[in-house]
């Protein structure tokens, strides 16, 4: 994970920490006001980014340059402005994570289904984080274990039918 990408995530985590601290110290009402304040600023720069993306339009060269920058890409994801669709982004993230995990699609509840691979570097936490980073609009991730081992048995059963 590059430093730039981490900055956007770290900022989000820091905001949550500070809100929790404010709630603990000054009560829930102060927390609600602060939430509104953060929303106000996030929506403002989000509207600015949306205007930028309208100007970029269908210029794929410019789009590629923008999403090549991890920080810009993570901010586009926050505001649903990423030029690539959900499936493409998840496939790309899984390919980068390595380990041969396979994207099975997003179900009706918005949960991304991923079948675990068998290679090295495919720790479940890393895959979950990779999918969440690439497609934060999904409602969650379900990791499906690879087909059960002892394939010979299934094959023989299949042959018996």
């Amino acid at each position: 994970m590059t430093e730039g990408h981490d900055d956007a995530r770290v900022a989000g985590e820091r905001v949550e920490e500070l809100l929790a601290e404010l709630r603990a110290r000054s009560g829930p009402q102060a927390g609600d006001v602060a939430e509104e304040l953060v929303s106000c600023l996030v929506r403002l720069y989000g509207a600015g980014l949306a205007a930028v993306m309208r100007i970029v339009g269908e210029d794929t060269r410019l789009q590629a340059l923008l999403i090549a920058d991890p920080l810009v890409e993570s901010l586009l994801l926050v505001h649903d402005l990423h030029p690539l669709d959900t499936d493409t982004r998840i496939r790309r993230a899984l390919a980068r994570a390595g380990g041969g995990a396979e994207f099975l699609g997003v179900d009706d509840a918005g949960i991304a289904q991923v079948r675990l691979g068998s290679g090295c570097g495919s720790s479940t936490a890393a895959i979950e984080q990779a999918v969440a980073d690439a497609a934060p609009e999904t409602a969650g991730i379900r990791l499906v274990p690879r087909d059960p081992p002892l394939l010979q048995i299934s094959r023989r059963q299949a042959g018996a039918v």
């Binding site: 939430e35 479940t124 274990p145």
Partner: protein, 220 residues
Amino acid sequence: MTFIPNGAGLLPEHTNPRQVPRGLRRFAAPAPRAAPAQEHCELCGETLGATHPHMVDPRNRSIACACTACALLFTRPAGRYRTVPDRVCDDPRAPLTDAEWAELAIPVAVAFFFVNSVLGRVVACYPSPAGVTECELDLEAWDRLAQAHPLLRALLPDVEAILVVREPTAETFLIPIDACYSLAGALRLNWHGFDGGAEVRAIMSEFLADLRQRARTLES
């Protein structure tokens, strides 16, 4: 647990989808708080419904929102807070006469009176475009009035008030103090022109209609 030969050894089988924190995304939603601001109990932080009890802090002359549990804890007059009771009383047997009202020399047609235990006396206030305004009260005149009117003597300090309305009809109620403040707030928000305007009159008549319905005759 399912054994998965992927080099990592035993892996828990994920039957439930995992939620991964989504950072700033939740703030980017167009209307994260479409619902009106949620009120919370000012003692324990519990989320409150639209109607909830209040507590008075007589020393700071402030009113705090409370959940039912905290309100019950503070029904005894001890400590900083006192829970506002919800009774509304009137006393049709001893209405306030014009002469008696004139003796108090209150310059407005709607006023409320409550006992401030910190000051140790009755305080007179009236709703105005500037919110609740305190006005001078002839305490001896009030005491004479209280002799003749049991309703005035039934007043609990800090948490209840006597609401006196002289126009369009003369009415007197013993009401919870938070009702006085919510009335004063509503009048202030909707006040137009010199006398408050039609909206203020409508709020006033609705408020009085509700009191008439809730009012129980003071037990003698």
